[in-house]
Symmetry: C4
Subunit: 190 residues, 4 copies
């Protein structure tokens, strides 16, 4: 195993590995979690503004591996945009909940739809509205630049900051805990 | 309290806390303060150019908490764009002054409208045109990458750079000084 | 030679120089390799989304030097966009293969078209789908922030991260190994 | 004087100050110099691509101060875009030369138009095509992340990287060398 990979492994406790092993559903916040937290707006001549979102290619590759491994994925966000819908479709993210001021209702609906118990769900977040869900799921992960309040209650904090590979890191954590990472990377597609 | 939070608290002097406690109005510059200072322009086929602005999701969450706590907010900027108007509306920022080559007139108008004394006003800025207002307000804060001249006259300098959580840090400073931060984070919405 | 240049030279082994000397064809992945890995989407009013890609001016200058030196270049990517086509045309990149879920077919077609042996081909990549080609080419280079699995099998890792001069660094490596870098920089055009 | 300001002053040699004192014309490259070097393209539905450029608010403020002080400014670039034209107009940059594969002709035309001797001209650049002009001007400055070949022949290298305040730093250097910086900052407008 390369030095960089060992270093990550070293930070992952046995407790976290045990939690990750159970995961079958991986849910994520959007802004600041699978984007870098920039809220980017293009001014249009008619006085309106259109939203630009920047996702991460490595995260995308990671989510594809998760799907290949049978993990179901979803996003729950307070905002909404065609950009997110486009990216979610492209990556085949199954659950897309937009405009959720309180995220807990969407979370519970996903629990029902998947039939998963809470110990089977992982959630990746970065800010205060993520805390309620993170207190309930089996594996609560905060991105590297999450708010202190979020890091404090997370089971694990990624080395990557939001929008720069944090979701990829969670997928790697889950698949390695299940012992199927090596098998999945041979199936990687561009 | 988590280590990261303690570290911030350590840097905040008793004098700054005392000033922050008085604040009821929080005013901000825009470019380089609640954006990263990039002036981004999209070329259009007709030879015109449209402005793109990148705000910060954590700043947005912070301003929502400020509003929940009854703090009134405003922006004063030398530029202007549909992007800013859209973001200000979305975040329910009350005062939006664009195209202000000299910012002091807008500042004085806000003083009149709110009836606040200058000791009740906080201002967050990054560059030379912010200095005049910053010399008058109760709490003058410079972003982490402000011009040296601005940092020199500020009561406090944020750890975050402009457009990467500096406004959030000011809100946290104000609400913690008032002893209502913990109460507000329980009310956070996405 | 300046200090910075020496430092780069120091990291390049004799083995890598020998490989680089043979190169006549330089192929690249796109996202995360000649872009920073951001997948940026603009929401449009009709609900569709358009892709924005950010390339690097220094990479562009490097590829121009490569062309002046007679090196043939190409890109192979799983995605596709007008932005990439525009940039490739502008830089006179000869081979542009988009929408390649498996990259190996495109690679083999380029081998046929150029008549180059595999030892004459360099490939720059950042993630799992690049590995198959990288195991075959004469000079396999990973960008500075490539996935650990990619760095592990590369002959060389650039100091620059993807989209921030990694391609330029490879061109410099090839032209210096051939002893024609100094000659080429005198021919640089804006 | 603040600590940060002293530190900058310490790096500026007497020789550079002497050169800066003579400057009446300040010319700049664009990509990688007054932008961060990203070549950003938006894909449009008709298959064309439009250019997005990101300038810096601090640079803009600096150029305004330069104009107030009577310094004439210009840009010479190998590319061209409505975004650049818009920004140049907004900042009242006098000379705008686009699509200059060889930059020297534009440089000589500006010399004629201004009647300035070469010792009165400062030039800020980042890459190989800037070298020819930089070998002739009175004050040749490289941005902090310029190519090694450019840094090597520059009289001065800025602490800031391209597109993040390098032009502002040059203006500050010139105005401080002339002893008029303090006077100018009092005239700053947003």
């Amino acid at each position: 195993m390369a030095k960089a990979a060992k270093k990550i492994a070293a930070r992952i406790t046995a407790k976290v590995t045990k939690r990750a092993k159970q995961i079958t559903v991986f849910l994520m916040d959007v802004d600041g979690t699978i984007t870098n937290g920039g809220v980017t707006l293009l001014s249009l001549p008619d006085g309106s503004a259109q939203e630009i979102k920047t996702f991460d290619a490595h995260d995308g590759q990671g989510l594809s591996l998760a799907h290949t491994a049978g993990i179901r994925t979803g996003v729950i966000t307070g905002r909404g945009s065609a950009a997110l819908q486009h990216r979610a479709k492209e990556l085949k993210i199954e659950f897309v909940y937009e405009h959720q001021a309180q995220k807990i209702a969407a979370y519970e609906e996903i629990l029902k739809k998947t039939g998963a118990s809470e110990s089977m769900v992982a959630y990746l977040g970065d800010d205060l509205p993520d805390i309620t869900i993170m207190r309930r799921v089996g594996l609560a992960v905060a991105v590297g630049d999450a708010a202190p309040e979020v890091k404090r209650i997370a089971h694990h904090v990624t080395r990557a900051i939001g929008g720069k590979g944090a979701a990829r890191e969670v997928v790697e954590l889950i698949l390695k805990s299940k012992g199927i990472w090596e098998e999945m990377i041979d199936k990687a597609r561009a």
